[in-house]
């Protein structure tokens, strides 16, 4: 009976309303007018922020290094077009907080002139390590939204001797079609990127997984992969969150990634189709990651479309291009409607993680009228991670964060499936994000107080030691004095 939860390959999930047809039938727009100014944050990836290597006033070419990666897990950023650096300062980050982040501002000169680079005739003659280096130098990060530096992942795959490279073409978020269009229009380049990645990781086989609501993309990828028997293209059921890497790994391989481990430890590495495309550009054309395809969609967008834009383009420029109606826009989201972040305003730049920008009307949003939990357990049955969202939320509401952690708070992936199905409109993910932050803050506070206590203890011990030393010295001094006086007296007596 307990095996009910055991070996099933897809667990939980929902079939959310897709809204993909708004943009899935139109070609990627490449006529986006080059913005006058580009705002390039030095951190567009997981890891340490990059360090600027240019000065204000410097002339740069497209693809030129602007900021150098720092430490083991980091990624550089490059000039998305040619022009002059006019500022390196703090500007709002494309994040719900819009807190300031170090940003390089580039005034474009309109020439869009690439930096010359030396191309390799055959990337397969390069050593795998060299592939990683070049991918790292091109600033490539996971393009599905996770933005983990790709080179680090290639190295991990190589070190763990993985057998399968999974290419994620699920694109399970509603509205988003940037991967769909990329696969339809640039399948050969993606497959080439996959081959290069296989070489870079010294892995044998690749499987491209595409949700079955994208038959055109599947057909294009199938054709492109035909000459390469070691690359298979597979259709997977359309069920959010199929694109969650660990769900996809379980579906394709039947294996689960242990908590606290990376997927390469079970012999699998997963990359997004957009990442494979970026790898192709970097290795074949020597181009750094300076642009991406963004889905601009939603009920408030008059001309919804996928558009290729330079990184650092302001969302306001995108909205002008796609004609967004401000009067009916109720929420602006970066990413998809399930996991995306709502943004406070639109003077924020497109970054490497920006798969989509949605301008949604009130009727497309979930009702905010929160009602009591009726314990219908829909959240339990849809949770892909096997958690009990209703009990976790209950504990958090009662400020019993430890109980929520015991129920698996740290295993929550914030996929939003529970919030999506909740008939009482309880913002479950909001509770979990709050609690995770709070737990982390408490741990830090505890760490700090322990640190302080340790320092205090050290200081007390040191002071005690010093006092003891002084006492001993004093005692020794007194003893010596007494000895001296005794000797003196003895001498006097003798005299």
């Amino acid at each position: 009976m307990l095996n009910l939860f055991g070996s099933k390959r897809i667990r939980g999930g929902v079939h959310a309303e897709e809204h993909k047809s708004l943009t899935s039938a139109q070609a990627i727009a490449t006529d986006f007018p080059l913005p006058k100014r580009l705002y390039i944050p030095v951190q567009q990836h997981v890891g340490k922020p990059a360090e600027p290597v240019i000065k204000v006033g410097e002339q740069v070419l497209k693809g030129q290094l602007l900021a150098h990666s720092q430490g083991m897990v980091s990624a550089p950023v490059h000039a998305p077009s040619s022009g002059i650096i006019i500022d390196v300062n703090e500007y709002p980050a494309p994040h719900p907080s819009a807190l300031p982040i170090r940003t390089i501002v580039l005034e474009t000169d309109g020439n869009d002139k690439w930096l010359e680079s030396i191309l390799v005739a055959d990337p397969f003659t390069l050593s795998p390590e060299d592939i990683s280096l070049r991918v790292g130098a091109a600033g490539i990060v996971g393009m599905g939204g996770a933005t983990f530096p790709t080179a680090v992942k290639l190295n991990m795959g190589r070190e763990n001797k993985i057998h399968t490279l999974l290419i994620n073409g699920a694109e399970c978020e509603p509205y988003l079609t940037c991967d769909d269009r990329l696969m339809q229009e640039r399948a050969e380049q993606i497959i080439d990127g996959v081959r290069i990645m296989l070489h870079g990781m010294e892995a044998g086989d690749a499987i491209v997984a595409i949700e079955d609501n994208k038959p055109e993309a599947f057909a294009a990828m199938l054709t492109a992969a035909l000459p390469y028997p070691f690359i298979s293209v597979r259709q997977i059921p359309t069920r959010y969150p199929m694109g969650w890497d660990r769900q996809l790994i379980r579906y394709i391989t039947g294996l689960e990634v242990p908590v606290g481990s990376s997927s390469s430890e079970i012999g699998v590495t997963i990359h997004n189709v957009g990442t494979a495309y970026a790898v192709h550009n970097a290795i074949r054309h020597g181009q750094a990651l300076v642009s991406r395809i963004v889905t601009v969609s939603g009920g408030a967008v008059i001309k919804p479309v996928n558009v290729e834009v330079p990184l650092g383009t302001l969302i306001s420029d995108l909205f002008n291009f796609c004609h967004v109606r401000p009067d009916i826009t109720a929420r602006i989201i970066m990413g998809g409607p399930m996991m995306g972040d709502s943004l406070p305003h639109i003077n924020l730049p497109v970054v490497k993680a920006t798969s989509g920008i949605l301008a949604l009307t009130q009727s497309e949003l979930k009702s905010a009228d929160e009602q009591p939990c009726i314990r219908c357990a829909r959240c339990v049955s849809v949770c892909p991670a096997g958690l009990l969202p209703l009990d976790m939320a209950n504990n958090i509401r009662n400020n019993q964060l430890d109980a929520a952690v015991d129920l698996g708070l740290k295993d929550c992936i914030s996929c939003g499936t529970c919030s999506y199905v909740c008939p009482s409109n309880i913002p479950l993910v909001h509770y979990f994000k709050y609690a995770s932050g709070e737990v982390m803050a408490r741990q830090q506070a505890q760490h700090k107080s322990e640190q302080t206590k340790r320092l205090m203890d050290d200081r007390n011990a040191r002071m005690e030691r010093i006092a003891r030393q002084q006492q001993e010295e004093e005692a020794a001094r007194l003893a010596a004095k007494a000895e001296r006086e005794r000797k003196k007296a003895e001498q006097g007596e003798a005299a």
């Binding site: 908590v259 406070p344 009726i374």
Partner: protein
């Protein structure tokens, strides 16, 4: 232009499935409506009186409690849960029961069964079953006086005026109680067993088909196993309830009754009689599946359903009461927190003890 956009910030998911609490309640009401309508048709105006009184008093008690708590009554009443509770209480009552049975039943269900715990979603026991059991123990005569089938507009059915007399002055006002009432199938069998009669003889006049359709003595809305079963299946298809509890419950009763009936058909009722009598179908699909008082996980729900089925069979077969569904559900309700504590889903990447799972990956030899 663009700076004037008024934006609301929120965490995901920004989109939502189009279900609401009131919609779920409405769907359950739709599913029980056919059986209720049939019950009202079979037992006439007195049944309608009782139904209306019970539902209205449930609403009044709910509003009263909300006012006591200093909350606005209207938005909560609109969620439909109080109507549904009153409705379910009415379905479990003998159709010609006096008005105060309905009022007391609703009062127990809403006040003691729901609001004292803090309202919707907080209660430990199913409110309707709590009311049913409390009434059965407190008022055994009224709760076991079963009107004969007397369909609306038929010659021997009470007219509107007579129905008011039945509801407000008791069954006796309509005629000799012996002539207008009788025993339910389960009650009859239990009494006859005590007279040392055996089954084929006891049930020689039993017509199974009438119990399936619902043309038989019983609670107001519980007589038709067919309509209740169809309503339940519709709810499962709509995704309002899961199949685990009804299937486990009905399967357990079927298996147990088959085993005993097969070994001694003189003293143990057949699975057919069990499935089509009393409150079993109603409880299996509409009471035991109550979200609030049943376990959260599919495995937990199977355990819960099987437990209910086992208790129903035990109480019916060896207990003092002919029908045991109310007690069975309440007992299993009390076990629900325990079931939920012990049966939890396995978290991705962890084993059942919460430890990370072992990897089977052996680093491959590098290809030459």
């Amino acid at each position: 232009m663009i700076a004037s956009i008024k934006l609301k910030m929120a965490s995901g998911a920004h989109a939502g499935a189009n279900t609401s609490v009131s919609e779920i309640m409405t769907q359950v009401m739709l599913a029980i409506a056919p059986a209720t309508v049939l019950g009202i048709f079979c037992f006439g105006w007195p049944a309608l009186n009782l139904f209306v009184i019970t539902v209205l008093s449930a609403l009044l008690f709910e509003a009263f409690c909300l006012r006591l708590a200093g909350r606005l009554a209207k938005p909560v009443l609109m969620d439909g849960s109080a109507i549904l509770t009153g409705w379910l209480v009415a379905m479990t009552l003998p159709p010609w029961a006096p008005w105060w049975i309905g009022v007391v039943g609703s009062g127990i269900a809403i006040i003691l069964g729901k609001q004292v715990y803090g309202g919707l979603g907080q209660n430990l026991f199913n409110p309707a079953m709590l009311a049913r059991v409390a009434l059965l123990i407190s008022f055994p005569i009224e709760m076991t006086t079963w009107a004969n089938v007397a369909p609306l507009f038929s010659s021997h059915a009470p007219n509107l005026a007579e129905s008011w007399a039945i509801t407000f002055s008791g069954i006796g006002s309509f005629g000799p109680v012996d002539a207008t009432t009788g025993a339910t199938t389960l009650g009859f069998v239990k009494t006859e067993f005590s007279q040392n009669r055996v089954l084929p003889d006891i049930l020689k006049d039993y017509s199974g088909m009438l119990d399936v359709i619902g043309w038989t003595r019983g609670s107001l809305g519980e007589t038709s196993s067919l309509l209740l079963g169809l309503g339940g299946i519709w709810l499962i298809r709509k995704g309002v309830i899961q199949w685990h509890i009804p299937v486990a419950l009905l399967a357990t009763v079927t298996v147990l009754s088959s085993l005993f009936h097969w070994s001694d058909s003189q003293h143990y009722l057949s699975p057919f009689v069990h499935l089509n009598s009393g409150a079993l179908m109603c409880v299996a699909f509409f009471i035991a599946t109550d979200y609030v008082t049943s376990p959260n996980t599919p495995a937990g729900q199977l355990v819960f359903g099987a437990g209910c089925g086992l208790l129903v069979f035990v109480i019916r077969t060896w207990g003092a009461y002919p029908e045991g569904t109310g007690f069975a559900v309440l007992l299993m309700n009390s076990a629900t927190p325990l079931i939920d504590y012990y049966i939890k889903p396995r978290i991705y990447g962890r084993n059942r003890n919460g430890k990370p799972i072992e990897t089977g990956h052996i680093k491959q030899e590098r290809k030459p």
